[in-house]
């Protein structure tokens, strides 16, 4: 939590989080990250830097991968928010485990959310998932443990589902 984001008067906001409609009374600039982690106790979304550099707080808003630390609650009003706790991550989770892509685990939720966003974009746009594509998609998610090889392989495996 950062003071300035919470300095204005609370307003009522409606969000759909992981399929459930939630009505909250929060300061409009409160970071979506704090809304998720503190108000909704969805702590799977991690804070690594608070300034949009590490990708640990990646969530989906209306299907797009965005950073919860740079999203004001009012900017997400009425949107569909999906976090790592939500449905639809089964394949990516399995691939991450099988490839040894999770070590300390702090970047893992953000990586998995980003992987899903990329996999869905590949399917939607009919783009063949490749290692280079995965590297470009995951370039905003920092990992200090793995050297990325296992993560990229897990992402490609995830996205290849449904491709011949």
């Amino acid at each position: 939590m950062k003071p300035i984001f919470d300095e204005s008067d609370p307003v009522e906001l409606r969000l759909c989080v992981n399929g459930a409609v939630r009505t909250l009374c929060v300061p409009p600039l409160r970071r979506l990250l704090d809304v998720l982690r503190e108000d909704l106790r969805l702590t799977g979304t991690k804070e690594g830097c608070g300034e949009g550099e590490c990708g640990a707080c990646t969530v989906l808003i209306d299907g797009q991968a965005v950073l919860a630390c740079l999203t004001a609650a009012c900017s997400a009003e009425g949107s569909e928010v999906v976090t790592i706790e939500g449905p639809g991550f089964e394949r990516a989770r399995r691939e991450f485990l099988e490839h040894g892509a999770a070590q300390c685990g702090i970047c893992t939720p953000g990586m998995i959310v980003m992987t899903r966003a990329w996999a869905e974009a590949c399917r939607r746009d009919g783009i063949e998932p490749t290692e280079d594509g995965a590297r470009a998609a995951l370039a905003g998610n920092l990992c200090r443990c793995t050297g990325y090889g296992a993560i990229v392989a897990a992402a490609v495996s995830t996205a290849r589902e449904g491709f011949p």
Binding site: K2, I4, F5, E7, S8, V11, P27, P28, L29, R31, G50, E51, G52, E53, G55, T58, Q64, A65, V66, L67, C69, L70, T71, A72, C74, S75, E77, M114, A117, W118, A136, A137, A139, G140, N141, L142
Partner: protein
């Protein structure tokens, strides 16, 4: 601090009517939320325009390509008209942050933040873009170089909203290039960024550079030399002269003034060289 969530241009303009120098417009949040986080900004009023649908469009008009200020970098990357008419903008958008940032960062935000290291702004300079501003008092249009006035400073009045940017039609035979040297290959802030456009025989050159002065700028001295039909053999010397005259790089946490000057020169020579005629062939 007051926060107004606007869902239309009219609502945003109404809210901005009472804005002061300390007020801020929140679009994608990728700059402003970082400023909040660092304590750099403590606004009296924040007008949130992130989901004003009227600000998010790309349309081809007689004046050229008009792009709504709320268009995100991802929008620019996906747009076929942008790829055709404003390719530099797409090349620059690819260099902004990483995917999550590109999904939120807006064209208008990059302009209004007016960071000297901005990636989209040099592309707009090189494209000769015009900036359309609106307020309750009316609308006006500025050349992008007139819009960006200094270090994180613009000609926008507190009550104005950047509505769109207009890119003039692409002249026939114009060469264009974009080159960024950053701290790493993604999610990086530029040490030097160059966007340029060059007509046949040096006509209509627009050479823009970022991170080499307190604001994005055009290398007027080099443009003039090119317009005079600079020969390839004289390029390096002309570039060195222009960089010395037109830029004001500084040492900072990302790089040094010496490096910035040297790399700007080398990048310009590398990009422009193949487009110039050798001596004798030159006009």
């Amino acid at each position: 601090m007051r926060v107004v969530v606007a869902r239309s241009i009219d609502a945003a303009l109404a809210a901005l009517a009472s804005a002061t120098e300390a007020s801020r417009i929140l679009a994608g949040g990728t700059d402003l939320c970082v400023e909040f986080e660092s304590g750099r900004t403590r606004p009296d009023l924040v007008v949130e325009v992130g989901r004003v649908a009227e600000l998010r469009f790309v349309r081809e008009t007689q004046a050229g390509l008009e792009i709504g200020a709320g268009s995100t970098c991802a929008d620019l990357l996906r747009s076929a008209p942008v790829a055709r008419g404003a390719d530099l903008l797409a090349l620059a958008a690819r260099e902004v942050g990483a995917v999550q940032i590109q999904n939120r960062a807006t064209l208008g935000g990059n302009l209004v933040t007016a960071s000297p290291a901005a990636d989209l702004v040099p592309a707009l300079f090189a494209l000769g873009a015009r900036v359309r501003l609106a307020s309750l008092a009316g609308r006006r249009e500025l050349l992008v170089e007139e819009f960006v006035t200094g270090y994180r400073a613009t000609a926008r009045r507190p009550d104005e909203l950047v509505e769109s940017v207009v890119i003039p039609p692409r002249p026939a035979g114009e060469h264009r290039a974009f080159h960024k040297v950053g701290t790493r290959r993604a999610q990086s802030i530029s040490k030097v960024v160059v966007a340029l456009a060059l007509g046949p025989r040096g006509a209509g050159a627009r050479i823009a550079a970022g991170s080499v002065a307190e604001r994005t700028l055009r290398l007027a001295t080099l443009e003039a030399a090119l317009a005079r039909g600079l020969a390839r053999e004289r390029l390096a010397q002309a570039v060195a002269h222009a960089v010395a005259l037109d830029t004001r790089p500084r040492d900072d946490v990302r790089s040094t003034a010496r490096y910035r000057r040297a790399v700007l020169e080398r990048v310009l020579v590398r990009v422009l060289g193949p487009w110039l005629e050798p001596e004798g062939n030159a006009a």
